[in-house]
């Protein structure tokens, strides 16, 4: 007889493990997903401490944000998917209204009008990150999929309205991510490959048209990507310095809090958008791969939940949330390593920042809600 069995025999209380999983179930929390999120977040706090120049106040600040976001996640997880679905159109309309308010009355920060002050300052575009895929999934829920051309056109309008409004703030990065979250929904809904290819071909002149409308600083970012050395002290500086940071990290890194690029302030925005470079410098390829594996686990769990979901709305929404998370990870890491232009996309769960953390966690809350509210019926 093993020791643990003996303990169980003589214990008057129920096994704590059993008790814990019970609590988790009742709170609609998905254990594996939560573990992945927490691992990424704690790793992130570690890196942030170093990236912020060992600033404890900033670390505590981020930990509090994390706690608040986790509470938001748990609250969202209690809302059944049916409830979410019913309220989706209203949420979407409210989001649009807020965006209109931003464009007319919003606060200006760093040359862009993104903030709204209604008691607390926040960016309504963050809410749209969830509202757009929810709206798209809502639209397709009762309809037969794959959607037909006419339906796709309606969806295109639903996606385009907030995207254009956000792009006008201007916040091109968020606009593109929101558009992507909607497009992912229709791709998951089975949009034909022919159509995707056709739209892809149309996107080329579209991109050229977009270039025409881009602001100078946005054009500069794209041009800088192709030749960062052309403007080493201006737009190319961030990329040059982040590549030096990552490259000099090597396989094993310079060690925690030993990154000279970060600590001697060569690396700009090192605790926000470019925190991945600090990770690369101090923990090397090994640390970077570790974080990517954790991310893949979170995304994989999200896709698993999507596959397990029971209705169209839940399925599409869960798939979109998981894949959008992947897009965040890809865009940020690709931007920091100089593969794509610098767009203001933070590294999810790791970069310092408030609103985006709550949105992300709310998204995970939806995943948990979808997974835990399944009616356990045989198919």
């Amino acid at each position: 007889m093993r020791l643990s069995d003996t303990q169980r025999l003589f214990s008057s209380r129920p096994a704590p493990v059993r008790d814990f999983s019970d609590v988790m179930r009742r709170l609609h929390i998905d254990g594996p997903l939560l573990s992945g999120i927490l691992l990424v977040s704690f790793f992130g706090l570690f890196v942030l401490y170093s990236a912020s120049g060992e600033n404890e106040r900033l670390l505590v600040n981020q930990a509090i944000r994390l706690g608040v976001a986790l509470v938001a996640m748990i609250i969202v997880a209690q809302l059944p998917p049916d409830f979410l679905r019913r309220w989706t159109p209203w949420g979407y309309l409210a989001g649009l209204l807020l965006l209109v308010l931003v464009l007319t009355k919003g606060d200006v920060g760093q040359g862009a009008r993104r903030w709204l002050d209604i008691g607390i300052r926040f960016q309504p575009s963050e809410a749209m990150k969830l509202a757009v895929p929810m709206m798209t999934a809502w639209f397709l829920h009762d309809r037969q999929i794959p959607p037909k051309i006419g339906q796709l056109a309606v969806i295109a309008v639903l996606i385009a309205i907030p995207t254009i409004m956000i792009a006008k703030q201007p916040d091109l990065g968020t606009a593109l991510l929101i558009a992507a979250s909607g497009i992912i929904v229709i791709i998951l809904a089975g949009m034909s490959f022919k159509l995707m290819f056709g739209l892809g071909v149309l996107a080329v002149p579209g991109a050229l048209g977009l270039w025409h409308f881009m602001k100078d600083y946005q054009k500069q970012r794209v041009l800088t990507l192709f030749n960062p050395d052309s403007d080493p002290l201006g737009a190319g500086y961030n990329i040059i310095q982040s590549k030096i940071a990552i490259g000099s990290g090597g396989l094993f890194g310079k060690g925690w809090t030993n990154g000279s690029q970060a600590h001697l302030e060569f690396l700009p925005e090192r605790h926000t958008d470019f925190i991945f470079a600090v990770l690369g410098e101090e923990f090397g390829l090994l640390g970077v791969m570790g974080l990517l594996v954790l991310y893949m686990f979170v995304i994989g769990r999200g896709l698993y939940i999507a596959v397990q979901a029971h209705d169209t709305y839940s399925r599409l929404l869960a798939g979109s949330i998981s894949l959008t998370f992947l897009v965040y990870v890809f865009v940020n890491t690709a931007m920091v390593t100089g593969i794509v232009p610098v767009v203001g996309v933070p590294l999810p769960l790791v970069s310092f920042g408030g609103t985006s953390m709550v949105t992300l966690m709310a998204g995970f809350g939806i995943l948990m809600s979808i997974h835990s509210h399944r009616k356990l019926l045989p198919h």
Binding site: Q144, I145, P146, I184, I187, L188, A189, G190, Q241, K243, I244, A245, I246, G247, S248, G249, G250, L251, K254, G255, N258, S260, Q261, L264, E265, F266, G280, G284, L285, V288, M289, L292, M296, I299, G300, L303, A306, V307, T312, R315, L316, G319, L323, L326, V329, F330, T333, A334, T337, G338, I339, H379
Partner: protein, 632 residues
């Protein structure tokens, strides 16, 4: 799936969805693989390159300025030293907007608005990461004020530096000279490697002429800096260990002068601030013992930096304090040349020891009404050569000038060192003029002016006309008389000392050029006459020499001010005083064994024997141990 049926087929929908999720997973995996491939490229294949770049980023090579050599007087007393001071410096590479930064510094009174263009020019021309000094000596209040505002001025900081200090202020200002901030010309002229950390260079005097010895060589220090170039104290050994080896700066050589502090002070005080110059040297070696140009200025103003207003005041001062009269002031030598002309006349047979003139107060050339007047209107009566020197009879020299001729005059005066650069070891010397027929041909355009006129020979015989000499040349001539023809090249620097090894290197002396006089009696007679100038019954300077504790020889001179000194503006109030004659005097002592030769000029002092001679005596008194401070 039927197009007609609106009923959803949940099973096929789920299958399709799974297919899409699998596809999305592949795409996701592909995207992450692209990032991973990129990371492998950066962190594995290009790691060396980026590691090097990272090192280059954080390590800045900072030049360490060498310690400038000290300057000592002949008794080892320091007359130029280095004092620690806080300087305000700007590193152009670390300043985003130089104009804005300078304007803001001017707004808080750390720099002057008028200096901004100069700092801007320097910021543009200096080497990479070389600081431009904005203020050379910050007061404690300024340091405290700036420390608070420092974050507002990235690229500007205060640094402890050694600043040149001249403890005797204006006493050695012209001879030793001063160092000043590097200007754009200096930056182009000087070796950038040696001056990598330097902010100053010698501008005049010994500081300029011996710059090469005094300066030393810059060293290098490797600093860990942050992105804004501020030095960061490394808190990890990993960062410190990665630094290359530093190289120490080599200090400049110390310079030992032949000048004597006490004598310099005695000469300076004797001049009492009047416009003029005093040079004293050891006739046996050419050692310059004292070298004073008056009025003087405080060289520390140049080393520390002064306001534009202060500089303009110095520059526009009618008394020309910045002008080194000793080597650059040219004056008619007047009667001081008479002993030398006497030797020339004896040697060439233009006169002899017994020939006498009857001086009636003026001289006329045959067939010319013009009277060349003696300084004594009633005349000196019957005078021989000895009397002519002792009493400074002009008529005697007027009479023999025709036979002697201007070219002989030129020949002998040149041998005594007049009218050509003395070759002293500080730069900037003027040659002056001892005219000759050839000289006049070459220096005048007009054919009539190129001719040499007899009357010009007459006035040249009493050191007037075209003749111009520097006080230093007169001192050298006095020394050559004192040593009976041993013409020593004068010098200020006696030895150079390596501060690390303590090894002294004496500067090489050229052997003296001998002024050959065939008959020793000529020397005896001329020098005896010079002795009697000071100590004879009718000597012009007997009031000065009589009763002295030692024997001496001298010759007074009074020079008409034909042209006012260079650069002086016309000023009605000053006019009268500034048109008075210059007072000159040359002397040496003790008579039997000369140890010191002196030349004195007091501009517009009127009387060589009355004004200049007492100054010469005060200097000789001091040197021979009879000075006011002799008991010290």
């Amino acid at each position: 799936m039927s197009l007609l049926s609106p009923i959803k087929d949940h099973h096929s929908e789920r299958r399709m969805f799974i297919g899409r999720v699998v596809l999305a997973s592949f795409v996701s995996f592909f995207l992450l693989s692209v990032v991973i491939a990129r990371l492998v490229q950066l962190q594995v294949f290009d790691h060396e390159l980026f590691a090097e770049k990272s090192q280059g980023n954080r390590v800045r090579i900072q030049a360490v300025p060498p310690i400038r050599g000290l300057i000592f007087d002949r008794k080892g007393r320091v007359i130029a030293e280095n004092m620690p001071a806080y300087q305000l410096e700007l590193i152009p590479e670390q300043v985003d907007d130089i104009d804005d930064t300078l304007n803001r510094l001017a707004a808080i009174n750390l720099i002057q608005a008028a200096e901004i263009p100069r700092f801007k020019a320097l910021s543009g021309s200096s080497q990479r990461f070389k600081p431009v000094t904005l203020k050379f000596r910050m007061t404690e209040q300024e340091i405290a004020d700036f420390a608070i505002q420092r974050p507002r001025f990235p690229g500007v900081d205060f640094q402890p530096r050694l600043v040149r200090h001249y403890p005797y202020d204006d006493l050695f200002a012209h001879a030793v000279g001063y160092v000043g901030p590097l200007d754009t010309n200096d930056v182009q002229r000087l070796d950038p490697a040696r001056y990598a950390g330097s902010s100053h260079t010698g501008k005049t005097g010994v500081e300029f002429s011996f710059e090469n010895d005094l300066h030393g060589n810059a060293g290098f220090r490797h600093l860990i800096t942050n992105a804004r170039g501020r030095h960061v104290v490394a808190n990890t050994t990993e960062l410190l260990d990665s630094l290359p080896v530093d190289q120490n700066a080599t200090p400049g050589f110390n310079v030992h002068l032949s000048l004597d502090l006490d004598l310099q002070r005695a000469a300076y005080n004797a001049l009492e601030g009047r416009r003029g110059a005093v040079v004293a040297l050891d006739p046996n070696s050419g050692d310059i013992l004292a070298m004073v140009s008056s009025p003087s200025f405080d060289p520390n103003l140049f080393a520390v930096g002064m306001s534009t207003q202060q500089y303009n005041e110095l520059q526009n001062d009618l008394d020309l304090p910045l002008f080194d009269r000793v080597i650059r002031g040219t004056y008619p030598p007047g009667s001081t040349i008479k002993p030398m002309l006497a030797l020339a006349a004896l040697e060439t047979g233009a006169t002899n020891l017994t020939r006498k003139s009857v001086c009636i107060g003026y001289f006329q050339l045959p067939g010319d009404e013009h009277r060349y007047r003696d300084w004594k209107p009633q005349g000196h009566g019957r005078v021989n050569l000895h009397d002519a020197i002792e009493q400074s009879c002009d008529v005697y020299f007027f009479e023999i000038s025709g036979v002697l001729g201007i070219d002989n005059m030129h020949e002998y005066l040149t041998r005594f060192g007049l009218g050509s650069a003395s070759g002293v070891d500080i730069l900037g010397e003027r040659a002056g003029v001892v005219p000759s027929r050839e000289w006049k041909r070459q220096n005048f355009r007009d054919r009539d002016n190129q001719r040499w006129y007899h009357g010009e020979t007459v006035i040249a015989s009493i050191g007037q006309g075209f003749m111009l000499t520097t006080p230093l040349q007169l001192a050298v001539a006095a020394g050559t008389l004192a040593t009976r023809g041993s013409h020593q090249r004068p010098h200020l620097v006696a030895a150079i000392e390596d501060p690390l090894s303590g090894e002294h290197t004496l500067l090489e002396r050229e052997p003296p050029e001998e002024v050959a006089i065939s008959n020793v009696e000529y020397w005896d007679e001329v020098l005896a006459a010079m002795h009697d100038v000071m100590q004879g019954p009718r000597g012009t300077a007997r009031a000065v020499g009589t009763g002295a504790a030692y024997t001496m020889a001298g010759k007074s001179g009074t020079a008409q001010v034909v042209t006012v000194a260079q650069g002086v503006k016309y000023d009605e109030l000053e006019l009268e005083e500034r048109q008075r004659d210059h007072a000159l005097f040359i002397a040496f002592a003790p008579f039997d064994n000369p140890q010191i030769a002196v030349a004195v000029i007091v501009e517009n002092g009127e009387s060589g024997s009355g004004v200049a001679a007492p100054i010469a005596k005060a200097v000789m008194d001091q040197y021979l141990g009879y000075g006011k401070n002799a008991t010290q």
